[in-house]
């Protein structure tokens, strides 16, 4: 139920209004301005509407409006003045002070009810909209950070070190920039710009995507040539951004360009790629450079161990990693403790927490775990099957309709002179040549017609060996026949070995069961008979 606060010094007036509204709303009453303000501080924006009289003891309606404005309540709570005041000056003043509406006495119950309802609806719609906009903005902001960090992570992924470099550089950049604005207003930095720098700091090494992995991950010292290639990543990265076919003028792209290009420049001009000096390097790139160096020192790399926080600080301050802006060195030392906490993982940047989690999940492939396991099991079964079939030398096949793939056991493949896997066998020329197009279509139709409750079918399989005339060469052919086809004729001097081909159709698990393929195995005609003796063939189902 929506809540209405009625403020009037006359009990008579309050009870009249209350009686009109209490069926639809939860009604609170205050008998003067002071009471009203204290109730508002208690209930705050839980109050949905205030009906306010003007002439009251203690604190009048206009003063209540002033207090509401001061406390920010007027943004969320509509105020309808109800007064017998006819003095236009007073009415104007009430509007000026932020009253939403004005009802003069004598009022009509119906009109009061409708105005209250309209005002409450209007405000709650507005509140919802404001909430939606805020949510969307937050989501978009979060998404864009996430996307940038995923991209950065992909670049880093080739660098077989841990994927936290980008996150750390962002956190250190954040700390250093906020420290910097505390000690100087020399640089044009506001929260929007700082946020943009932090966001785009993730892309500082984007150019490394073009550096060969052997160089990126080389454990030892790089040769001069290799180092030259490695150093090209800042120029290459910025070039990639400059070459974007879209959004070139976006502040984000420009900022990313600055950082990617100049995050290896140094204060004394001895950095690369352009050898810029001092503040020729944008402050964004200067800060990221320092953050990058600190993280490189304190992290373990394929070519070095991790230095301690204190050692890293000392090395940077002494200029062992090149010269930095003295102001930034001051910032680094001022914020040393905060930086140490982040480094030791006690206090990660909140903003990046979910991004970091996400990246971690991506690495673990957590969401893919179950299907991964299934695939693994499947692979295992296949391997087992192949192994046993290889040893027993049996001839078997598997056909899956979805993939249109025929898999033959090694022996079968060898005997037929075919590869172990065959795509689209019904249209495969070699396969057609062996069995005949018509036969294949015939088989295919028979398999498809098998019902799930009786999925097994047997064929006679003949291996026919003929001596070529005037030669010792033996030509081997194969024939598949349905026992129902009756007697089969072979060339006179051919040697024929008879097998049984036992096949079973496969179906989907889900109802209605649909045909998905067929498996089959060749067994010697005689032995198959033995095996089959006393065994109901439906056991194979």
């Amino acid at each position: 139920m929506k809540k209405i606060l009625i403020v009037d010094d006359s009990e008579m007036n309050r009870s009249m209004l209350s009686e009109m509204l209490e069926r639809e709303y939860l009604v609170f009453e205050a008998e003067n301005g002071k009471d009203a303000v204290s109730m508002l501080s208690r209930y705050d924006t839980e109050i949905d509407l205030v009906l306010l009289d003007i002439v009251m003891p203690e604190m009048d309606g206009l003063d209540v409006l002033k207090a509401m404005k001061k406390n920010g309540w007027l943004t969320d709570i509509p105020v309808i003045m109800i007064s017998s005041e006819m003095n236009p000056e007073v009415i104007h003043q009430a509007y000026e002070l932020g009253a939403t509406d004005f009802i003069t006495r004598p009022f009509d119950i119906y009109v009061v009810q409708r105005r209250c309802r309209n005002m409450i609806n209007l405000y709650s719609k507005q509140k919802n909209l404001a909430g939606m906009v805020a949510d969307q903005y937050f989501e978009r902001e979060k998404d864009s950070r996430l996307m940038i960090n995923i991209l950065a992570h992909i670049v880093e992924y080739r660098n077989s070190e841990c994927g936290m470099h980008v996150i750390y550089v962002q956190n250190y950049t954040d700390i250093l920039l906020h420290e910097l604005i505390k000690i100087t207003d020399k640089y044009d930095l506001d929260e929007t710009k700082i946020s943009l720098i932090i966001k785009t700091a993730a892309l500082h090494d984007v150019g490394k995507i073009c550096i060969p992995e052997e160089i990126l991950n080389k454990p030892g010292r790089l040769t001069d040539e290799e180092f030259k290639i490695m150093k090209s990543h800042s120029a290459v990265g910025s070039q990639m951004l400059a070459d974007l076919p879209f959004h070139k003028d976006e502040p984000l792209v420009k900022m990313a360009y600055d950082i990617a290009r100049w995050h290896h420049e140094r204060w004394d001009g001895r950095g690369y790629p352009d050898g810029l000096v001092g503040d020729e390097v944008p402050i964004s790139a200067q800060v990221v450079a320092l953050a990058d160096v600190y993280d490189a020192l304190t992290a373990e790399r394929c070519y070095k161990k991790a230095f301690s926080h204190a050692t890293a600080l000392e090395m940077i301050t002494k200029g062992e990693c090149g010269q930095f802006n003295p102001l930034l060195i001051t910032c680094l030392n001022n914020a040393a403790e905060q930086i140490r906490l982040v480094k030791e993982g006690n206090q990660g940047g909140n903003m990046d927490y979910d991004v970091r989690e996400f990246a971690r999940d991506l690495l673990k492939n957590e969401s893919l775990y179950s299907s991964d396991r299934l695939l693994h099991l499947l692979e295992y079964e296949k391997m087992k099957n192949r192994f046993f079939e290889g040893i027993s030398g049996s001839c078997s096949f598997e056909y899956t309709m979805n993939a249109k793939m025929l898999t033959l056991s090694p022996t079968a493949a060898k005997a037929l002179g075919l590869p172990e896997t065959l795509m689209d066998p019904v249209h495969n020329e070699t396969f057609i040549k062996i069995f005949g197009k018509e036969k294949l279509h015939d088989l295919n139709a028979k398999f498809r017609a098998l019902p799930p409750d009786n999925p097994i079918v047997q064929f006679c399989f003949y291996v026919v060996e003929e001596k070529k005339p005037n030669s010792d060469e033996v030509v081997r052919t194969f024939r598949i026949c349905d026992p129902a086809d009756g007697e089969v004729k072979f060339p006179e001097n051919a040697q024929v070995t008879e097998y049984k081909l036992i096949c079973r159709a496969a179906f989907t698990v889900a109802e209605p069961q649909r045909y998905t393929g067929v498996i089959g195995k060749l067994v010697p005609a005689q032995r198959e008979y033995d095996i089959m003796k006393g065994v109901d063939i439906s056991d194979f189902a």
């Binding site: 010094d9 006359s10 009990e11 008579m12 007036n13 009870s15 009249m16 009686e19 009289d53 002439v55 009251m56 003891p57 007064s83 017998s84 005041e85 003095n87 006495r105 004598p106 009022f107 009509d108 119950i109 119906y110």
Partner: protein, 118 residues
């Protein structure tokens, strides 16, 4: 005496008052009966007579407001006249005393009519 007769006897528009209450005569009756126990009149009397102009102004204003909504037109008019005479006043004057006596007169008439209600 019915409510309508009561309104007519004190020179007030009964229909308009009932319409504002969405036709709910019983509600109007309830508030009219309650009117005589509303303290704004007695407060007006005590503050005016003791020369407290500021409070008198406020009380006249409140009385006017109540009368407006109940449609007690005659008393509303005299209360309104007194309110404007008291607005921003420093002390009581003869004009105000005259208007004040008119309010008293109208109030007593109204009070009497209400006491005669069924």
């Amino acid at each position: 005496m019915t409510l309508r007769e009561c309104y007519e006897s004190i020179g007030s528009d009964f229909s308009a008052a009932v319409t504002r209450m969405c036709g709910r005569e019983e509600m109007l009756l309830k508030f009219v009966k309650k009117f005589t126990s509303d303290p704004s009149y007695s407060s007006l009397v005590s503050s005016f007579e003791s020369g407290d102009v500021a409070t008198a102004f406020r009380m006249a204003h409140t009385l006017k407001g109540v009368c407006l909504n109940l449609g007690l037109d005659k008393l509303r008019q005299s209360a309104s006249d007194l309110t404007e005479a008291l607005r921003n006043a420093q002390s009581t004057s003869e004009v105000q005393a005259e208007l004040y006596n008119k309010v008293k007169q109208d109030y007593e008439m109204t009070e009497k009519a209400i006491s005669l209600l069924d």
